[in-house]
């Protein structure tokens, strides 16, 4: 990855999760019997960016910040959820298994928060109205017809050769080229070539069907 964007993604997604060691935070929380208020204070530094990016992504991309009270309320709800739904327990057990590497608190909390949101705030798509959704080709389809049409379009991708199918599917889901390259551990130029190839192949087949060939 040589582009600035790719470097940024690598730094944002990968490095902090691998390099950070938040075991002392977990130990402190354990010592306090996982009291939600204490844990919220201890984890605030880790939780704040997770909650603002995952829950309020649409708002932040439009440059609007959630109110302090709503953010605080969500943080506390999430911290309670961590304890009551057994997420703390699982985190603690994982942290104690020394053989399990890497251990990354932000990574596990991000996944725990996504589960919390799916369970308690399943209105994610209504809130995520920013550019993240807008960039997704499938998000451009009007809501009333989107599900069957999008399913049909994804069915079309099954016709693509293996080397460009997954890349194009990820592109359709709205991931950016540098993200796809990083996720698939491949070259950015290769990603762009495969996306263009997929577009050409699908257009050609549609055209042939249209003229009855």
């Amino acid at each position: 990855m040589t582009t600035r964007s790719g470097k940024y993604l690598e730094k944002a997604l990968w490095a902090p999760w691998i390099e950070r060691d938040d075991r002392s935070v977990l130990q402190n929380c354990a010592d306090e019997s996982w009291d939600p208020s204490y844990c919220l204070d201890a984890l605030r530094e880790v939780l704040h960016p997770i909650v603002t990016s995952v829950h309020f992504s649409g708002y932040s991309r439009w440059g609007v910040q959630p109110s302090k009270s709503s953010l605080e309320s969500l943080l506390l709800d999430f911290t309670r959820y961590l304890k009551e739904d057994g997420e703390w327990k699982a985190l603690h057990a994982r942290w104690q298994r020394a053989e399990e590497k890497p251990f990354s608190l932000p990574l596990f909390l991000t996944r725990a928060y996504a589960r919390f949101k799916a369970k308690h705030h399943p209105d994610r798509h209504d809130e995520q109205v920013g550019e993240g959704r807008d960039l997704s080709p499938v998000a451009l389809v009007p809501g009333s017809v989107s599900a069957p049409l999008v399913d049909a379009f994804f069915e079309l991708t099954r016709q693509l050769p293996e080397e460009c199918r997954l890349i194009y599917q990820l592109h359709l889901e709205g991931l950016l080229d540098p993200e796809i390259a990083l996720i698939l551990r491949t070259d950015l130029g290769e990603v762009r070539e495969r996306i263009l190839e997929a577009k050409d192949r699908l257009d050609l087949r549609d055209f042939r069907k249209g003229v009855g060939a």
Binding site: S5, A12, L13, E87, R111, Q128, L135, E179
Partner: protein, 71 residues
């Protein structure tokens, strides 16, 4: 949203995802990971939602380079 046969957010996958992020999956595991991403629409959708949610505000504008068709 499709209901995934394999739930990307399942707690059982936490350790696997951590190993994937850490780049320590074997070739066979990576191959299986790609196979599931390719064939399980619900899994792929949740995975992509997760990746999108991790973008930092502002980065998307910088990185945005939607692939354009050849002239």
């Amino acid at each position: 949203m499709k209901t995934p046969k394999i739930d990307f957010l399942a707690p059982e996958l936490d350790a696997f995802v951590a190993r994937w992020v850490g780049g320590s999956l074997s070739d066979a595991e990576l191959s299986e990971w790609r196979r599931v991403l390719t064939n399980e629409a619900g899994f792929r959708e949740n995975f992509c939602d997760w990746i999108r949610s991790l973008r930092e505000p502002g980065w998307i504008r910088e990185a945005s380079s939607v692939t354009r068709r050849k002239p």
